[in-house]
Amino acid sequence: MYMRNQLLEVKRFLRTILLGVLPLLFLATLSLGEEMRIKVPSYEGAELAKVREWEKTWVGKKIDKTNVDQVKDLLLEPHVRIIKDPMYMNAKEYWFVIVPYQEAPYSKGQMEMTQKYAPAKFNEDRLVDYGKIAGFPFPEPKSGIEVAYNYDAQTRGDARWWYSIGSVVDPKTGFTRAAEMYRMAMYWTGRCFTPPYPVLPNNPKGFRRTYFQRMKVPEDLNGMGNLDVKYTDANTEDERWTYMPNFRRITRTSQTQRGDNLGSGERINDDIDGGWGDKVERNTYKLLGRRELLVGRHSDPKQLTWPGKNSCVWNGIQRERVKTFEVEVTYKKKGYTYSKQIWYVDPEIWIINSKMCWDEDGRLWRVHDEQWYPNKTVTGEVAFTESASMHWDVFGRNGDLTKTDETKDVGKVFPASKFSINALQKESY
């Protein structure tokens, strides 16, 4: 009897195990299967196979007015319009070349930091604190603001020096104003490319990013310098100091100028730094979904041609298919320059490939097309940096172009003195 009771107890125990613990284990296994992925490529599996099949037809092809209709679903409408009518931007032709989709790599630091810190938690102010974390905070974003924070987390090699050439073009008259400048940028927090990461030591003021620019052309601005400082603390306003060579003075630039045009081109001060240079928290974001586009992210600037010095397009951009995040962006305060923007954000590099901006009257005003190119960092990593860009006013018919003539020192830890106010005056004549 006793033995029988013991057997019954064992059976009850086993049944409990089978009915209780095993399903829990099963559920636990399932949940492990849903573990957050550090990196989600634009295409994989069947989708990738489908893209590869499409590429068999299109890779290497020059897309111009004769065949643009066949790929128009993969382009923003203003591009299709200008390819068909290039004289709108005072060009005889506007064309690009299709290249195969290539998955963009993360750096070792981006992998490690994303693994360590993602998914990030919003604090009370819905802020992501780059003083404490690095990597992409939301590898699988579910909302617009998560996409925006991923964009904000991209440090593009942590630091770099590059020389830009460009022109502001009035296609109506053909008048062109040239500009040349060298630039340096360095991230102090949220670093992912060159040790030490995620933060640089000796950062008592809490810099997030510092940016230095020296104009070389036009001659009346030759020597003009800008120093931009972005702070890690989201409640601290950014700063801009400007050195004017014809006055030989350093002046503070007002933050209220952020919505003003940057120089004479088709960007405002907020549009710098790859599409959005101000704090993420200034806007509200609405994720509209995914949009497949042909974008330039392996676009070699040396392959670009300018159809004429009075035209406002680059020809020869190397575009590939990417399934971008389409995010509607609205500035929180009223009276801003743009009533609405739509960003097309790269799901692997987390850069803004393109964006469209509407004016205060709700008219489509500006279309920005940013091209990127992989560069080797000083530690041998790959970082995507500026290749070229086109910024069009499709309402008033104006535009500007930039192209990177040289990029170097990607990932280098520059001395802090390179980003001091004194540096604005140094080497300026």
């Binding site: 052309v217 081109g265 088709e266 006013d393 004194n422």
Partner: protein
């Protein structure tokens, strides 16, 4: 001469219009030499306020300046944290107006006309606007050579920016670039960037004796006093003769040495839970004053011989030496710059300066209420001045309605200046420039308004200055820069003054002008 000038200009404009595209920046010798070249034509038309001025001054076109400038930066050495550059700025001009305008032509003798006014040979070196070696190594920077130093952030009035004198003979502040107005001096300048908190930078300058006076208009020219018609002695007026004499200030002598120190750093206080970044400068400067004062004994002798020479037609027999003296003074200055982004959303600039031992001639009014006086002696006075500027871009919808690309933003700047002579004998002092005869203090307000149209191809700027003694001026200018190569500016400069005593600074007694500048970049 007229034909050569006119044909030359026509050829130059035609060549520029149909010539090749502007290169803007020439990079030569593997980018070791960077060269920029530009040329401009500057015209001023002067309009008489009344009939008497019409007789005294030349009307219509009174300035026609041709100018060519080239800036070159040659990299001599570059390795790791060491960079040595050699910078040269050449400025060659020809003021053609005396070839066209009889009154101006007769206002000066031939020597003055060519060497002091028409061509850049006033000191035999003016063709070099600046020329120096720039040595950078780590935190150290040394600049040796002819250079300009700007120690101040104010725009229309100079509060602490006193190192370089200005050349106002035929340039218009606000139309010509500010650094083009400055007379560069031979100096040694050293800058050390410390690693102390606040990015403190220490800067020192030493001028071994290159003293230059502010160059004001020459008698009979657009910026000068009225010419004296039918003047004897080679058409040289008394004031022009005095100007010649003033120019005999020793050029290079250790007695004329000047120097100063400036410390600049950043402060970051937390005010009402917000951080504010302050750029703070402190400076000390010791130099010879500019303008100069009169030595009485020498002056009496000089005038006596001048008058005698004038009677005999031998004006060149003037005494040697000088009766004008530049006296030493000291100055301490403070500058603060910050932005208040929350309440007034403006950039604020504050500057203050205290001057010790400024030398003045004492005077005696010839009659109560009269504007004329006789000089009686010399005295030293201290002077305190400050300026407070508020600058803010503002949204103005009417501008946006005019032009979609303009963004409707206008940059507005308001500045208050005040100054006090610290003396109880103010009525005995002959004061220069801004101050009226009996005033111990002055107050001035300036306003600057700037906006742009057609994607910044067109820029509109206006400046007002109002002095509480009811004098001032205003300028309006419109600049059209459609391409990198061309820039055209047209505008007007109007002055007004309550009393003739104020007109010297206000340019209000006689000077209404319309100007045009055409600039071409090669």
């Amino acid at each position: 001469m007229k034909r050569i000038i006119i044909l030359g200009m026509v050829f130059y404009w035609v060549f520029s219009l149909f010539g090749s595209e502007s290169f803007a920046l020439y990079k030569l010798f593997d980018k070791r030499l960077q060269l920029i070249m530009r040329a401009d034509e500057y015209f001023v038309w002067r309009v008489a306020r009344n009939a008497r001025q019409g007789l005294e001054y030349s009307q219509a076109l009174t300035v026609w300046r041709h100018r060519f400038q080239a800036e070159g930066t040659l990299t001599l050495f570059e390795q790791e944290d060491t960079l040595i550059n050699f910078y040269t700025w050449i400025n060659f001009y020809y003021e053609a107006q005396p070839s066209f305008n009889e009154k101006i032509n007769h206002a000066m003798d031939a020597d003055q006309r060519h060497n002091k006014y028409q061509l850049p040979f006033f000191r035999k070196d003016d063709i070099l606007q600046e020329c120096y070696v720039d040595y950078n190594k780590g935190p150290w920077t040394f600049r040796v050579g002819k250079q300009s130093v700007v120690w101040g952030d104010m725009t229309l009035e100079r509060t602490t920016d006193v190192v370089n004198p200005l050349d106002l003979r035929y340039s218009t502040p606000g139309i010509d670039e500010f650094d083009e107005l400055k007379i560069a001096l031979y100096m040694l300048r050293g800058i050390y960037e410390t690693s102390l908190p606040g990015n403190i930078v220490i800067e020192g300058i030493f001028n071994p004796g290159d003293y230059q006076r502010t160059r004001t208009g020459i008698q009979g020219t657009d910026r000068g006093a009225p010419p004296v018609p039918n003047e004897a002695l080679g058409d040289m007026g008394l004031i022009a003769a005095l100007d010649t004499f003033k120019d005999r200030v020793p050029r290079f002598a250790l007695d004329n040495a000047s120097g100063g120190v400036r410390v600049r750093g950043q402060l970051r206080p937390k005010i009402f839970n917000k951080y504010y970044e302050f750029l703070v400068s402190l400076q000390y400067y010791n130099a010879l004053d500019n303008p100069i004062v009169t030595d009485f004994e020498m002056r009496s002798e000089w005038i006596g011989r001048f008058m005698a020479g004038r009677a005999n037609g031998k004006i060149n027999e003037l005494p040697s030496g000088t009766f004008y003296e530049a006296k030493r003074y000291e100055m301490v200055g403070l500058g603060i710059q910050t932005e208040e982004p929350n309440l007034i959303k403006s950039v604020l600039v504050f500057e203050a300066a205290y001057f010790w031992g400024l030398d003045f001639n004492t005077t005696h009014k010839l009659a109560p209420g009269d504007t004329s006086f006789e000089t009686t002696g010399r005295t030293e006075i201290d002077f305190f001045t400050y300026g407070l500027s508020i600058r803010r871009p503002t949204n103005q919808m009417f501008l946006k309605n005019i032009d979609h690309t303009a963004r409707g933003i206008a940059d507005i700047s308001l500045t208050l200046y005040q100054g006090w002579y610290l003396t109880n004998k103010i009525s005995e002092i002959k004061k220069p420039g801004d101050f009226s005869y009996d005033n111990k203090s002055e107050t001035a307000l300036t306003c600057s308004y700037m906006t742009d149209f057609i994607s910044k191809q067109l820029t509109f700027v206006t400046n007002f200055l109002y002095n509480t003694r009811n004098w001032g001026y205003y300028t309006l200018s419109l600049t059209y820069a459609p391409t990198t190569a061309w820039k055209v500016t047209v505008g007007t400069l109007q002055g007004y003054a309550n009393t003739p005593m104020d007109s010297g600074t206000a340019s209000g007694h006689a000077d209404d002008r319309v100007f045009m500048k055409i600039k071409y970049e090669f």
